[in-house]
């Protein structure tokens, strides 16, 4: 399936992907609204300083988060690991079990949240669309 990959040698460490990600998941229509309304928009992608590598969900073949979810809120739909916020009880076992550190408590603190490849925001990942150096790509690399 198509996944989000980062070409490390092209990443400039500008962190803009984080902001576009948070904006895309904020439900707001303007970026400044997402950050200026005091709602603390949170990105689901993270650029680590120095190593310039954005970490986001790998959508594992056999996701540990899904295995460990006590509420059955995590499922894999068309290869995309998703969290059902209605079912999530906010125990954050998934946050602890993700080996990549890609799941975080949501801003309300009551449920977990993670990258769902922008399937809920029109399907084309915002980080990929807005990367200023074409470093983040959404492509098929022959992995499951």
């Amino acid at each position: 399936m198509k996944k989000v990959y980062v070409n490390e040698e092209r990443c400039l460490g500008c962190h803009l992907c984080e902001f576009y990600c948070a904006f895309a998941n904020s439900g707001e229509t303007e970026m400044f609204r997402a950050f200026r309304l005091g709602r603390d928009a949170k990105p689901k992608i993270r650029v680590e300083d120095k190593i310039n590598f954005a970490v986001q969900c790998r959508h594992c073949d056999d996701p540990l988060c899904m295995k460990n979810c006590i509420a059955g809120a995590i499922s894999k739909v068309d290869g995309v690991v998703k969290i059902d916020r209605e079912k999530c009880v906010g125990c954050f076992t998934c946050v602890l079990s993700c080996p990549y550190g890609c799941i975080a408590p949501d801003k309300d603190g009551h449920s977990a949240t993670k990258c769902e490849l922008c399937t809920q925001n029109g399907g084309s990942p915002a980080c990929v669309q807005n990367c200023i150096n074409g470093a983040i790509v959404y492509e098929e690399r022959g992995e499951a």
């Binding site: 962190h15 803009l16 904006f23 303007e30 400044f32 150096n133 074409g134 470093a135």
Partner: protein, 501 residues
């Protein structure tokens, strides 16, 4: 210490209602203009460091930034302008020659804009390039002037070595050192895909780029950096650089800070040493000496490659070109004074040389008059800004044109004219690995291909409009040109009629 007050050239305007403190501007500014004040929770700026490269403006996710000329200026004078005053202060402080980059910003006449093109109407109808073939392929090199037969009376079909261009546009010389490796890679890949050529400039050829040899013109300049037998043989043609439009009569100086490991290796000089190209070639003081160098490089490449001689457009350019044509060169490149540069003394760039339009017309006319126009091809360079400039250049007598500034623009250059600082925020004119990264060759090469493809479409449209279906029929076809608002003398030099005539 006297007080030296320079008003900041630009002002950074930040719309605080929109700014989300993402700090992308801060991270992406090599001039360290932007900074974040944690106590106030605000982005602030050091306006005096801004060079107006527009990097921050382009990437700001909320369009919160604007750069504008600083209105706080010295008292206005049409004679002592603000740049002249600050330059005087600067020189009083440093005692140094002023440096500038890219083409002169001064308001000299642009003759391209005073020449109009013709179009067909009734008797010689226009051609639709989308429906009919339209030839833009060009061959550069000596053309046969008479038929030759061998002993058996068979026609001798052999030709002098030449270059084949699918489009009448080549990328002109920009050295590895003055521009980044990623920029070079983009140019090389674009030239390969377009079926044209890029030029190494005087900085040698990086070992990774020998594979693009079939689309490379290798340059030999006065510093002879990176010149060896394999280098000469790597390219499709060899260019001997006698002068550059932006700085005629001046050599080059690549500061030691830009001579990093790779550049040093490619140029065959020690790391960190200044790469100084002398003003003259120390072995060329006459046309005969130039002939010796031409035949030396021809000898080294077994007479298989055409030799280009690049000269700056200066006052006697027609006579110089005539000499060059007789020296054995296959192609003459003429570089006009509005052409770009990675660094040149400001006063030279802004005051020396002549416009390419006049130089080109003078050279083409002179060579025709002397009956040696077929001995050489002419390449026009030095501010060919768009496809119609290229068409006008060809109609004035050029076989093809060299472009560099438009190529840089395609790669992201915003013409801030700060190349000489080595802090190019667009990853082009820099050797700082963190900045070089910003130019993604996968994107840049594609944009270069797009640019030249678009120009070629436009050239075909314009030619079609004239009822011409081959670029060969456009070359030197000055009847397709008319001057507008030009004096009798200018029209005479350009060899064109005035509009209405």
């Amino acid at each position: 210490m006297p007080v030296n007050y320079f008003p900041a050239e630009f002002e950074v305007l930040r719309n605080y209602d929109k700014c989300i403190q993402c700090r992308a501007c801060e991270r992406q500014c090599a001039n360290e203009v932007h900074w974040y004040d944690a106590d106030f929770g605000k982005m602030l700026s050091h306006d005096e460091k801004c060079v107006d490269c527009q990097r921050c403006v382009s990437i700001c996710p909320t369009s919160a930034l604007k750069i504008r000329p600083n209105e706080n200026a010295f008292r206005k004078s049409a004679n002592y302008t603000q740049p002249l005053m600050t330059e005087a202060y600067r020189q009083a402080g440093t005692g140094s020659v002023l440096l500038s980059s890219m083409g002169t910003p001064k308001d000299y006449p642009v003759y391209w804009d005073k020449i109009l093109l013709n179009a067909s109407q009734v008797t010689n109808p226009p051609i639709d390039p989308l429906r009919e073939p339209m030839e833009t392929r060009v061959f550069l090199g000596k053309k046969p002037t008479k038929m030759k037969f061998d002993k058996n009376g068979e026609l001798d079909l052999s030709l002098e070595p030449s270059l084949t261009l699918n489009v009448p546009i080549m990328f002109s010389a920009m050295s590895y050192g003055s521009i980044s490796k990623n920029a070079h890679e983009s140019l090389a890949r674009a030239a390969e895909e377009l079926g044209t050529y890029y030029n190494t400039g005087e900085g040698g050829l990086h070992k990774d780029f020998y594979k693009f040899g079939a689309n490379t013109i290798v340059q030999v300049a006065s510093g002879r950096f990176g010149v060896h037998k394999d280098y000469l043989n790597a390219g499709a043609a060899i260019e001997i650089k006698m002068g550059q439009g932006a700085k005629p009569g001046i050599g080059g100086h690549l500061p030691g800070e830009k001579i990093k490991e790779d550049v040093a290796h490619t140029r065959m000089i020690p790391r960190g040493t200044d790469a100084i190209s002398p003003a003259p070639h120390h072995d060329i003081y006459s046309i005969e000496d130039l002939r010796q160098l031409i035949f030396s490089v021809k000898e080294a490449t077994e007479y298989k490659k055409p030799v280009i001689v690049k000269i700056a457009a200066v006052h006697n350019v027609a006579a110089i070109a005539s000499g060059v044509a007789r020296s054995g060169a296959d192609i003459i490149a003429i570089d006009g004074f509005r052409g770009g540069t990675g660094a040149a003394p400001t006063r030279i760039r802004d005051n020396v040389g002549i416009p390419i339009e006049l130089a080109l017309a003078a050279v083409d006319g002179r060579l025709r008059h002397e009956g040696i126009r077929n001995e050489v091809s002419i390449v026009a360079a030095g501010s060919i800004r768009c496809s119609s400039d290229a068409v006008k250049a060809i109609a004035l007598g050029a076989d093809a044109v060299y472009i560099a500034t438009p190529a840089l623009l395609a790669m992201g250059c915003h013409l801030c004219r700060s190349c000489h600082t080595g802090k190019c925020n667009w990853g082009i004119a820099t050797q700082n690995p963190e900045l070089v990264k910003r130019l993604n060759p996968d994107i840049a090469y594609h944009r270069l291909v797009n640019l030249v493809t678009a120009w070629n479409h436009e050239i075909q449209e314009i030619m079609g409009g004239m009822g011409i279906n081959s670029i060969e029929a456009l070359r030197g076809n000055r009847l397709m040109l008319r001057g507008i608002g030009l004096t009798e003398k200018e029209l005479q030099i350009l060899g064109i009629l005035h509009a209405g005539e």
